[in-house]
């Protein structure tokens, strides 16, 4: 399939259309709302499901490949903030602390983007290795430490408390836990949960992406006017830079197209759950609205609508047979 066909196939899939519906509804200020408690529960469900599936698929994965991929992910998560920080500081007048906080978001990952990309890959027949779930988990935290390094010495920080909060962050614990449960129970476990975690998964994703569209759109409506243009641009070119770095890493360690596209997506995506919370604790002076609007309101829709098909197309060409 060519890039254009891929893009079209992605764009007219129900999950992406429901995301667009949410975006549009927020733009016209509709009062459509998915209750917060349910949105959180949907994300728990999706993380459990994706973790579990990854674990089940570990039966057919090589541990050496997994270790290599995890290593590559850690390096990417650690390195990308330095690039993001440098670009922000040279192209915009963003202060040091704010730039460091934004950079940390870009080094880390968006698990929802990962889930949407996995789903798109499955629909395209480009399934990824099970260990990509572990790569996602491994890429969440390193960027936070890069961010702290970039911000320089801050008063009153408690490093130990922060490490613990980040390491035992809910979505990481759940993703890794579900991954291990899937790995441990394999196909017999899969049989038990198949209708819930496999069959209805894509439908639930539609409902969840409707909410993500609403949230992203509301954030944009509320904040976008306050963000300077070079910073907004950062939210559009940074995923492309991240994806390019992810592609290089995938080439270096010889990944298959499905896994490579996911590594690109992870590198391209920006955190909007774990990192914002960590930044409030570690860099309280950074303004939270800027980084969150950027990662959730700009980079997230960009990846979902344009990025993911692009990454699959490029991965197909560069890593494919």
């Amino acid at each position: 399939m060519g890039l254009f066909d891929l893009a079209v196939a992605n764009l007219i899939s129900p999950p992406i259309l429901f995301f667009a519906l949410g975006l549009g509804a927020a733009m016209v200020r509709s009062d459509l709302v998915v209750p917060e408690a349910v949105a959180k529960a949907l994300s728990i469900y999706l993380i459990m499901a994706i973790g579990f599936k990854g674990g089940v698929e570990m039966a057919s994965s090589s541990l050496a490949d997994a270790a290599l991929a995890i290593g590559a992910g850690i390096v990417l998560s650690f390195a990308i903030p330095f690039i993001s920080f440098g670009l922000l500081r040279t192209t915009s007048r963003t202060g040091r602390t704010d730039a460091a906080a934004i950079a940390a978001h870009y080094g880390s990952i968006s698990i929802v983007t990962f889930i949407a990309a996995s789903d798109a890959g499955a629909a395209l027949g480009l399934a990824a290795a099970g260990f990509m779930v572990a790569v996602a988990a491994a890429m969440e935290a390193p960027a936070i430490f890069s961010g702290l390094m970039l911000a320089g010495k801050q008063e009153g920080q408690s490093g130990r408390e922060l490490v613990r909060d980040v390491a035992f962050n809910g979505s990481i614990v759940l993703l890794i836990g579900a991954f291990l449960i899937g790995w441990a129970t394999g196909d017999s476990g899969r049989l038990v949960v198949e209708p819930f975690f496999y069959d209805i998964f894509r439908g639930v994703l539609c409902l969840f992406l409707l909410d993500m569209g609403l949230v992203a759109g509301r954030g944009l409506v509320r904040q976008a006017g306050d963000i300077r243009f070079p910073v907004i641009l950062h939210g559009l070119y940074m995923p492309l830079i991240g994806a390019a770095l992810g592609l290089i890493a995938a080439l270096l360690i010889g990944m298959e197209p499905g896994s490579g596209a996911l590594l690109m997506t992870l590198s391209a995506s920006a955190s909007y759950i774990a990192v914002p919370a960590a930044m409030r604790l570690a860099l309280p002076k950074a303004k939270p609205a800027i980084s969150l609007t950027l990662s959730l309101g700009i980079t997230f829709p960009f990846n979902l609508i344009f990025g993911i098909p692009l990454y699959y197309a490029v991965a197909g060409m560069m890593l494919g047979g």
Partner: protein, 103 residues
């Protein structure tokens, strides 16, 4: 019914800091406190709303504690040390309580 004069301390605090604030208050051994969830608001950092959010990072909680005026100074000092760096505001007001033995 007899009432006794007390102080009501109210702290609006961002979600990521709530646990640390509670741990601090636990150490200070106050009589007690209660936490209420807020759903939206606006301040100098712009507006926020819980509508459909899955991240807690932007939300605020309102913690209040009814306490003795004598305990107020030390509590305010400690609370200020935390809140100064974070997003949050602290107010104190006068209340009367029944069942003073509770506090």
């Amino acid at each position: 019914m007899d009432t006794t004069a007390k102080k009501k301390l109210e702290i609006i605090i961002e979600a990521p800091m709530l646990d640390r604030l509670c741990r601090l208050l636990d150490q200070l051994e106050l009589g007690g406190y209660t936490v209420l969830p807020a759903v939206s608001g606006r301040g100098r950092n712009g507006s926020w709303s819980r509508k459909g959010e899955i991240s807690e990072s932007q939300r605020m909680y309102v913690l209040f504690a009814v306490l003795d005026a004598r305990d107020l100074p030390r509590v305010l000092d400690e609370v200020y040390a935390i809140v100064a760096r974070q997003i949050g505001i602290v107010t104190v007001s006068d209340v009367a309580v029944i069942r003073a033995e509770h506090f």
